[in-house]
Symmetry: C2
């Protein structure tokens, strides 16, 4: 059997999974590992501006590449900055490996490590913190079993679609282990369901659907996270049922699909969609993920008794739970079962699904309102464009880096970021990393003079909802090499990608935005663009306003 360095073993596994961009920041305990990344033919080291942004980028990358995201940090000070990003991947179910370079196994045994901890002699504080937001972790202590441990946590991440943690001591990176296992790619597809239990579930589901006067499908993020996109599409085709999507499930179904009726997001949903979906006799939820953003702040009005939920490792029908019955195996059988009558159902579907069109509201005035902005943007997007939108603040800018990298690797669509002037500030420096890697996303910055969502919730005239105004017209210039500066001649810069060209646009009226979005040159993603859209203070989309009112009641007092 040939031998391979433990660090290289891990990188081979990443390459096999299609993880070709690795995010992170160098540090004293990870540089030996970074050498291996830089020297690997298939991998690209991204080198983010800080660790939080790196974790966000790994999350965005995992979403679009539909595989493992990877982030490398250094022991203690480095790894802790990444935690919020990893926690986001945990709650939104993205497989991410957080690889932390830690002191050598020799140093760990000695007194000197004591100094590298928090100064109070506890060795495991950092690991403990990460374990709260990981589904599996490995703290390597010796080369024996290292390959197996790496394989185990990678399989956990992929099969559970959640982050894992790996502590990699400096000396073990270059210690060798047998390479043989690498010949077999990792197997992380779910095991078959229990045959009898599955048959029973199918028959109960069939009864429900057969008896229903109306049944609809709601596709959600976890169908994508657990590799069930094809299976979900097959169900839609074969069953002929109306299909709706949550905000995070949107990518699974084509907006132009004849059976597609629009977005469901609890009480933020438009009336026609709400009507059809909430009154259905049977609602089939594929991979439901109820985060605040994805569920209209948890405001579903969908009775449990009429709901069938398909998840990666369990199914529910009404009040009955069926643990161990996962959707990857169940879906094809459900599709086969519903194929009979599919055409008839499809015809009925055409009668009920609300026709989805982007209609611009008939508003007075030149100023850009959000009510006008979103349908207008809808006309601008092209199929396969990647749109990064809201999400928890700060996340979106880091995630855009990962999304743009993944989109480039997959050679799909353009990348658009929509970010508020407030959210932008949290992680703004990651724009520099985009320029460094020659990426050309469209960065739409909505400037409404502060934290408008928060103002809608509480304290509209409070100065804590104000922010320091930035001069966005020079943002791209600030994060670029100054024109006057010589390009460094050092060898280490010889491998630098060609940085992005750049352009800034200020947009204050509907007409200006209209013209810009219709401009043919503007539509070519040949440079990084920052489009600052000025929106009046106090303006907010109706949906947001409603959501804010609900949240705001929690902050009320006399």
């Amino acid at each position: 059997d040939s031998e391979v360095k433990i660090g290289s073993y891990l990188l081979e596994r990443l390459a096999q999974l299609g993880t070709h961009s690795v995010q992170g920041v160098p540090g004293d305990f990870n540089m030996g590992f970074l050498d291996l990344i830089e020297d690997h033919a298939k991998l690209r080291w991204i080198g983010n501006a800080n660790e939080l942004n790196a974790a966000y980028a790994a999350d965005g990358y995992a979403r679009v590449k539909r595989t493992l995201g990877a982030v490398v940090t250094t022991f203690g000070v480095g790894e802790l900055s990444a935690l919020n990003g990893v926690a986001g991947s945990f709650s939104e179910r993205l497989p991410v490996i957080h690889i932390v370079g830690v002191p050598s196994t020799a140093a760990q045994g000695s007194h000197s490590l004591l100094h590298h901890t928090l100064g109070d002699g506890r060795f495991s504080a950092f690991e403990n913190m990460s374990k709260e937001i990981s589904v599996d972790s490995a703290v390597l202590k010796q080369k024996e079993g290292a390959g197996e441990a790496i394989d185990r946590i990678l399989v956990s991440a992929m099969s559970k679609a959640r982050p894992v943690y790996l502590a990699l001591p400096t000396d073990l990176v270059h210690a060798t282990i047998p390479a043989g296992a690498l010949k077999t790619p990792l197997e992380y597809s779910p095991p078959p369901n229990d045959e009898d239990a599955e048959k029973y579930v199918l028959s109960v589901a069939h009864d429900h659907i057969a008896k229903a006067k109306s049944a609809v499908i709601l596709v959600d993020a976890c169908a994508a996270r657990h590799g069930c996109i094809e299976e979900s599409r097959e169900l839609i085709e074969k069953s002929g049922l109306p299909v709706f999507a949550t905000p995070m499930g949107k990518a699974i179904i084509d907006e132009d699909h004849a059976q597609y009726g629009g977005i469901y997001v609890g009480n933020l949903t438009t009336e026609p969609v709400k009507q059809v979906l909430e009154s259905a006799d049977v609602l089939i939820m594929l991979g439901s993920l109820k985060s605040d953003f994805n569920s209209g702040n948890f405001s579903y009005r969908t009775p449990r008794s009429r709901t069938i939920e398909l998840h990666s490792d369990y199914t529910t029908i009404g009040y009955s739970h069926y643990p161990g019955i996962g959707m990857k195996r169940l879906l094809p059988k459900l599709s086969a079962m519903l194929a009979a009558g599919g055409e008839k159902r499809r015809e009925e579907t055409m009668q009920v699904v609300p026709k989805f069109t982007n209609v611009l509201p008939d508003e007075k005035g030149d100023a850009i309102s959000q009510a006008w902005l979103w349908p207008r943007m809808g006309m601008f997007f092209q199929p396969k464009d990647q749109v990064v939108l809201w999400g928890s603040i700060g996340w979106s800018v880091g995630a855009t880096l990962g999304v743009a990298l993944a989109a480039r690797e997959l050679q799909i669509g353009r990348t658009h970021l929509f970010v508020g002037d407030g959210s932008l500030q949290l992680t703004v420096q990651e724009v520099g990393t985009m320029i460094k890697h020659g990426l050309n996303p469209y960065l739409f910055v909505l400037n409404n003079d502060g934290y408008e969502i928060e103002r809608q919730i509480h304290g509209p005239q409070r100065s804590y909802n104000d922010i320091q105004p930035y001069d966005h017209s020079i943002l791209l210039d600030f994060f670029s090499r100054p024109k006057t500066a010589q390009q460094s001649q050092e060898e280490s810069h010889s491998k630098d990608p060609k940085p992005s060209n750049k352009q800034y646009y200020a947009v204050k009226t509907k007409k200006e935005l209209d013209e810009l979005l219709s401009d043919a040159d503007f539509n070519v993603p040949d440079r990084i663009r920052l489009i600052e859209i000025f929106v009046p203070r106090g303006d907010a989309p109706t949906a947001l306003r409603r959501q804010a009112e609900a949240t705001g009641s929690a902050n009320k007092y006399d």
Copy 2:
């Protein structure tokens, strides 16, 4: 007894402790509390660009104000971003309270909170993570006992000089409790030492010092952290012994003091200092804090058998430990004991302490080397100037905000930041918050084209040690309100402080820097200044080079 809101009770305690600036970022679960901060006559809400920077600012504030730092975040997404900053305060022993606005006690009981957790039903993941880096915490569940819990954790923070965590539910902020306790300020000075044990320790110490041919004092950070600056100075005066300082203990002793001999930092120390200190028969360490930065990467050559260590709650003499014998009470008695013979010792001291002078090295060439830079800067500093230097990367920019706020409140000195071009990128947006609050620090940016420390350690020609170059000439412009933009007329902006004026300087030669530092106008801190100093790639201070070699050996492999 009159009543007070729980939120106001906490704020009164902060005001009593002299904590007048509160760092943080608004969020859904803390805005009711922010109202109270904004309305409090003695408190100022800072409103940072992100939570990590906010935690760093609280750390810097605590260092200079020598009291509690405070940072407010929101449940989950907000609080986790602050953890790295709080962990830094834990290991460097700064009292900081991390106040997290959490859902109401009613919501906590209900199903809806489940959604606000990580999506897997665990309620305590966030608390658990913070507990690893806190000496005490309180998760308020009801108004009964809330005041006592707040008092307890504040006393823990102040007496142990470490962070504490407070989860503050939205409804309890405005619930009322009796106000009576507020009449008595918190008592956090250490209890008296056991009388007999203390006597014994004093006599053992006396024997050691009396027998010694040479004894020296080393002052370190924890003497300041535990409120023993006056006691330490008294010991120096009365004993007449030579005194040295660690990098973090420097603020305790005046550089011009006749007994002062310079900085000790393990094997990075200059020869004359190393000589005197490491050969002393007795070394009295006051409040030793051995972090990597503060101890020359843990390279002390000071034999335990000849060392007396005074800490906040224990003492060691040689190999003997004396738990419970704290320095606050011990120091005055030691001083009294050593007063006899003090004059004679002082005379001997004059013979041995190396005379500390800032000598510029005699170098060829115009380019600014670090060997030349640091002594030159030494001549520029004025007594009471606050200098923020290195530290863990990213920390320094956030900390400078807190330091500048504290210095303004205390009406002491100017604030100088020295930051590498790489470190600056992690938290650069906090410069905007400085401008928002009209602060005028000097920001010296050392531009050496990347992560030079890391290059010295490993991979000098590796591209992972390269960074995206920024155009620092427009940094201050980018983080300021654009000239073309109208000042918002909203009421919420009416309380905005006057933003800083600003100026940028590019410095490429010794002559240029010399002239700039000597310029009278430049010396007046009437605007925020960014001074970009270009240093050649590959140049590093000797001390750093030596430290890097030691660290680098950990990354070596074949």
